[in-house]
Symmetry: none
Subunit: 201 residues, 4 copies
DNA sequence: TATGAATGAGACTTCATTCAT
DNA sequence: CATGAATGAAGTCTCATTCAT
C-alpha cells in the first residue's frame, strides 16, 4: 500500500472519529442543557478517554461550535434541497421545514440561542460563522423573493428568520408539555407566521 | 407596639431587603452576561455577605427567577399602561414598546432566553411563572383582539409574542454591532413584523 | 466589642492563617522538589480544603513567591542582626551565616534557584522582589565595605553573593551525601571562599 | 555481508539516530525553559513520532540527562583544549571560558541548576554522572594547581567551580537585562572572582 | 439575623507514556 | 523498527452553598 493511500486512510479514520465525537456531543446536548455537558460525559459517550477529545478538538468551545456549524449546514442543505425540488419551496413549506428541523435538533436550536444570547464568540469563530449564516440567510431570502412578498427582501428574510426562531425559543421548552405537543404547537405557530407573511395584499 | 405590628414591620423590612438584592442583581445582570454573575458579586453590590443572600433566596436560581419575574411584571404594566392611555395601543405600537423594552433590559431578554432554552424550572417556579406569563399573554391577546386580526386570537398572540422574541434573540447580539445599531435594526424588524401581522386582508 | 476591634481581630486571624499556610508550604517545599508540591498537598498539610488556599493566595505561584520573600526577609534580618551586634560582622562570619541559613532552609535556596533559573516572574512579582533583593544586597555590600576589600564594593558584593549561592547550588544536593555531610562541606567551601575574598593584598 | 557487520551497521545507525534526537533536544532546550519542552516537541523537531523517542531513551528524564552529559563533556574538552595550548590556561582565562560557555549554553546551565536543585537522579544516573563530573573537576583542579594557589587544591577547585556556577545562577536571568548585558555582567563578575582567587599572598 | 470563612465537588486541560498496527 | 492514536492520572482553580460564631 502506498504511503499516500495510508495517509488518506488515516485522514479518513480521523475524520470519522471526529464525526463520532460530534454525533455523541450532538446527542448529549440534545438531552440536557448543553452548557452543562462536560468533556468527561462526551468522552464516556464516545467510549474514549477525556484526553482523546482534545486530539480532535482544541477545546470544548471548539466542539460546541462545530456542533453548531454542522446543524447550520444541515439546515441550509435541507432548505436548498427543497427549493431545488421541481416546484420550489413555498414560504409555508419553508416555515414547516425550518421549525420541523429545530424540533428534531433541539441542541442546534439551543446552541443558536446560546450564541445569540451572548455566548462569547472569538473573532475566529465569528469569521467561520459568518459565511455559514450568510448562506442560510441567502436561502431564506431566495424563498422570500420567490414568494413575491412586499418589502425589502433581505429585511423580510431577517424578520421571517427571527419569527421562526422566536417560535422555537418561546415554546420549545414549555414546561409540562411533551415533545409531541411542543412539536404540534410550534408547527401550528409556524403556520400562523407563514400565513401572515404570505398573505396577499 | 403590638406583636402583630412588630411582625408586620419585620416583614416589611425583610421585603425591602429582598428588593434591594433584586435591584442589585438586575443591575449586575444588565452589565454582563447574566450567567457569569456570581453570588459574591451580588453580595458585594448589596454590601452584604454571601450568606445573607441565602436568607432571602433559596438559591441563585431562585434569585434569577425573581429578577425575571420582576421584568415580566414591568413589561406587562408597561403594555397595560399604554392600552389604558386614551386611544389604546395599536399592534404596531405594541411591537415597538416590546422590542424597545427588551433592548433596554437586555438582562430580562437574556434570562427569558435562558429559561426558554432549558434552564431547568422547578415545579414551584413553573407554578409561579405561569400566572405571570398568562397575564402578559392576556395583554398581548387584548391588543391582537383590538387590532381585529384574523384567526384565533390566542394563537395569533402566541405567534406575535414569538416573532418579537425571535427578533431579539436573533439580532440582539449581532457581533460587531453597537447597541444603538442593534436597537435600530431590531426596531425596524419589529416594524416589519407588525406590518405583516396588521395588514388588512 | 467595637466593630473596629472585631475587624482587627479578623485581620489578625487572617494573617495568622496565611502564616500557617506559608509555614506548611515552606516545610513541604523543603521536603521535596518544590516544583512538585501541589495545592492539595499543601491543603492537606494545613488541614484545610484546597479551595481555602485560594482565599489566602491568588495562585500557587503567589504562594511560591511569598515563601521566597519570607526567606529573603529572614535572611536579611539575620545578617543585619549580626552586623548590629557589637563588633560587627566579619566577612568570614557572614559567609558562615549565609550558607548556614541556606542549609537550614533548603526550600529558600531551591526557590532562589528556581527563579534564577528562569521561573517566570510576572512584572508585579519582579516589582515586589526588587526592593527585597536590593536590601539583601545592601547588607552584603555593607559587610564588604567594612571588610575594606579592594575593588568596587557593589561588584564585589555581587561576586560574593554569587559565590556563596554557587556553593549551595553546586553541593547542596550532592547525591549520596547526608544533610550533615553537605552542611559540613558547604560550610567548609564557604570558608575557603571567605579566605580568598578577605585575604590581605 | 556478515551478520556481525550488519549488526555493527545497525548499531551505528542507532547511535546516529540517538545523536540526532540529542541535538534537537539541545537546540530546543536552548530556545526555551527546558522544563517546558515536551516529548512531542522534540519528536516534531527530529521529524519522528513520539513513540520513537522511547526507542532511544527510556524516559524524558533520561534524555535530559544525556543532554546534560553532552554539555559537561563539551565543557571539559573546551577546558582541556585550552590547557594543552602551549602556555596553558591561567585561572583568569579559565573563569572566562567557563562563564562564556555557560552563557552560550544556557540550557546546560539550566539543567545543571535543575539537577543540582533536586531533580531526582536515579542511582544509575548518578553512576553515569560521577565520572563525568570528576573529570571536569580534575581539569579544574589542574588549573588550580598550575596557578599555585594556596590551600588544598581539590577544595579550592570546588570553591572556584561553585563560585562560577553561582555567578551564572545569580545573574543569568536577571529580569530586564538583555542577553548581552548579562553576558557582560557575568564575565565581569567572573573576572572579580578570578581576581580574588589568584591574588598573590 | 448577619457574617464570611471554609468547603469540596467538579470543570477544563496537559502530557509522558504505551501499544496495536 | 516506526508510528501516532489513545490513555488517564494529575494539575490548577472556581464557586454555590453551608454553618459556627
Amino acid at each position: 500500500m502506498s504511503a499516500a493511500t495510508l495517509h488518506a486512510l488515516r485522514e479518513k479514520e480521523r475524520e470519522s472519529r471526529r464525526e463520532l465525537i460530534l454525533l455523541a456531543a450532538r446527542k448529549l446536548f440534545a438531552e440536557k442543557d448543553f452548557r452543562s455537558v462536560t468533556v468527561r460525559e462526551i468522552a464516556r459517550a464516545v467510549q474514549v478517554s477525556p484526553g482523546t477529545i482534545y486530539r480532535y478538538y482544541e477545546s470544548l468551545d471548539d466542539l460546541f461550535l462545530d456542533v453548531f456549524f454542522a446543524g447550520a449546514l444541515d439546515l441550509t442543505e435541507l432548505i436548498d434541497g427543497e427549493r431545488n425540488k421541481g416546484e420550489g419551496c413555498s414560504l409555508r413549506r419553508f416555515c414547516e421545514i425550518y421549525v420541523g428541523y429545530l424540533n428534531e435538533n433541539m441542541s442546534f436550536y439551543q446552541m443558536m440561542g446560546h450564541f445569540m444570547l451572548g455566548g462569547r464568540l472569538s473573532p475566529e469563530a465569528t469569521e467561520r460563522l459568518n459565511p455559514i449564516m450568510r448562506e442560510l440567510m441567502d436561502s431564506i431570502e431566495g424563498i422570500v423573493r420567490e414568494a413575491a412578498l412586499e418589502g425589502e427582501t433581505r429585511l423580510v428574510a431577517h424578520a421571517l428568520f427571527s419569527a421562526l426562531n422566536g417560535v422555537m425559543i418561546s415554546y420549545a421548552r414549555y414546561p409540562g408539555r411533551s415533545l409531541e405537543e411542543i412539536r404540534r404547537h410550534t408547527l401550528r405557530l409556524a403556520a400562523v407566521v407563514a400565513g401572515f407573511f404570505e398573505r396577499e395584499t
